[in-house]
Symmetry: C2
Subunit: 420 residues, 2 copies
Amino acid sequence: MQNRGVPHTTTSPAQRVPGRDRPAVRPALDRGRGLLGPALALIHSGRAPTRSVLTSELAVTRATAGAIAAELEALGLVAVDPRPSGSGRGRPSHRLAVAPGGPVVLAAQLHADGFSVALAGLGGTLGEPVDRPLPRTADPEEVLRAVAEAGARLVAASPRRCLGAALAVPTPVTDSGGRALAAMYLDWPSGTPVRDLFAAAVAGALPGLPTAVANDANLAALAEHRHGAGCGARHLLYVTSGHRGVGGALVVDGRLHTGSDGLALEVGQLTVDPGGRPCPCGRRGCLDVEADPPALLAAAGVTPGPAEPLLEAARAVVRAASHDPVARAAVDRVVECLGAGLAGMVNILNPDRIVLGGIHLDLLAAAPERLPAVVAERCLWGRSAGVPVLPAALERPDLTGAAELAWQPFLDDPQSTAAG
Amino acid sequence: MQNRGVPHTTTSPAQRVPGRDRPAVRPALDRGRGLLGPALALIHSGRAPTRSVLTSELAVTRATAGAIAAELEALGLVAVDPRPSGSGRGRPSHRLAVAPGGPVVLAAQLHADGFSVALAGLGGTLGEPVDRPLPRTADPEEVLRAVAEAGARLVAASPRRCLGAALAVPTPVTDSGGRALAAMYLDWPSGTPVRDLFAAAVAGALPGLPTAVANDANLAALAEHRHGAGCGARHLLYVTSGHRGVGGALVVDGRLHTGSDGLALEVGQLTVDPGGRPCPCGRRGCLDVEADPPALLAAAGVTPGPAEPLLEAARAVVRAASHDPVARAAVDRVVECLGAGLAGMVNILNPDRIVLGGIHLDLLAAAPERLPAVVAERCLWGRSAGVPVLPAALERPDLTGAAELAWQPFLDDPQSTAAG
DNA sequence: TGCATTTGTGCCGCTACTCAACAAAATACC
DNA sequence: GGTATTTTGTTGAGTAGCGGCACAAATGCA
């Protein structure tokens, strides 16, 4: 690209040469970057295993695809393997893959039971995650410092260059201020500036690293879209429940739909059973209290131990449903509620695929026919739509999603990986 | 642009010259078209009144903006007026406006009481609309032929070149097949291929004209976003009810969010009052039966005359609310239901603006404090979100929206206006 | 052993921009 | 009223990114 020299050289009016003139606005730096980003995204998510597929996916000439692949290889991000790629007539195409020793990002996650960190390269593969309990304090600053330090140890132990860090948190995060609105499991006050606090913590442990923070369900959706059950979907609705309440996320054309301030897909307030259980919001039968692990436990009459994770206790109920009629009835009831909630979302969002995580994944496995049927029945154009409902496919969707978030700037502009 | 010659010259293998070679895929034709489209869109929606604003909105250099403006002027789409544009220091910028004698499109609309057609230039201004009752037959082919013929008369009477035609229909339309799913007011069977039928009708009356068909609420939302109360919103939620049922639409970053098959924003099935009126869907208290004109009439105990449009009758109830306690109570009740429905959408979509049309516009005028308050109360992050709720600003939003739809291909690629 | 088919590559050209310098048109200040 | 300052329009040179083309390479099939 053109040499733009040093930006923002504060030329005071006095010392300014008369004939000298600067553009009214700094032209958008991200224009003309062209197809490098889309190409890397295709290889990253495994949708371009060969150069010829890349050519057709990008809708460019073979010459252009070759130049792009060569540049990504020069950046150390992609490995081009000229060995034949197997069957078919004609000359076999070169294989494209993520460069094995390429840069990594630091993915981190806060959840009800602790925190996790892992390194992640391109391609959606995680390194061995480190899981730790939360420090006894609830002070966000201290928690995030512990996360950053655990991450820094991972980074120091790896020979690969680290380009960024991102954190998944179990609360909505505002786009504008990066504030956590309802970090219930963490006992944080509403409005905690988690984005800034994480940035500060990482700046202490790993200076210079760009950071980002987002909601865990949103990130899991992104991960499922790129590397899991949502791969290839144009409009992916992801719904999950791992502890209390129900989280949703929507991926449209490969991008998260976070709404105007990151608060979209707060689906827990959908009414799914007008005569149902009371909800903290004041009404009855909200999805939040009818389709999460506590709802399933309550319907089955099970009281979990105080130290037992709610998700594990609820999974036990689903497993018991194969022989225990009480558990079966509980599962059936929650499946009806979940289906009604999903139908409500489908009427508004019209996704072409639904992926379920958390306890919903188990419920789908226990009612693989009934759950999609409920959705279709209660959905306005059920028969014409017929949305497929799939189980999530990733082992650690939240961590993988955090990695996606950290990778995003470099997927948008692969050249910038060279800067660090 | 490059000369691509005649497309699809079916070179049979036999007659193919050995050294001759065609690209694996036809490269995307719309790449490299650059900023002409965005520039025209800015001028079209009034967001670039001068060349200097265009420069900063496009984030290009003055030279580029000048070249773009000159090209749009050469295409006969934009008028550049070099006269000064008023106040401020420095040299005044040239004014940019839609060319007065430029091309037009044909906008058409089917509604409960008839059909309308109008010509529309760039800039969102409609010519005088022609309103007609529906032919006595319910045969879609015949209805659409009448529409096309009325349109053809308008086109013939105008000296301006017509580039395309689009139709707004009061039913969801599938993206894939262009089929009407629930044209209740028109007595059309579900699945009527309205896109193809309209194309055929227009081909008969105005050969060669490109056509398009979409849902009326969606198009009204698009129109409000570009020329009305939604101008400048990033995520615009539009909700309206002109006859029976409630229609919604979402505009994200200037594009309609139609979902994977055009069926998004079917918001009528949201439960807003669990103990409310029965709905054809089998449940109670759906938005469709609680916040449309018949709901308001029923709450007020009014039975409209058989020939009276439902919207007008409902408007009379809202007007009566200032002095009639029964009407006031009816309005209050429907306002609560509408607010609950809007809150449900806000929780899922997190728009930064809501615009109301149809009877909802009157309800907002009658309860300008209460309606936004209900939304905020029932919305999960009400206080932090505080979504503004505004009345629609256009006189004929559906027709204006149909014009937007017809213009869209030319806004995306202004060069193609020269082809016709 | 050819031949059709598919892919990789180098070279040329075009397009849509940026950059840089200058000219023009207004306001602000003395 | 004249001059400096600010903002804008204009022109010409330069360039990144991509398409078009011709040819070479690598496979399967007859």
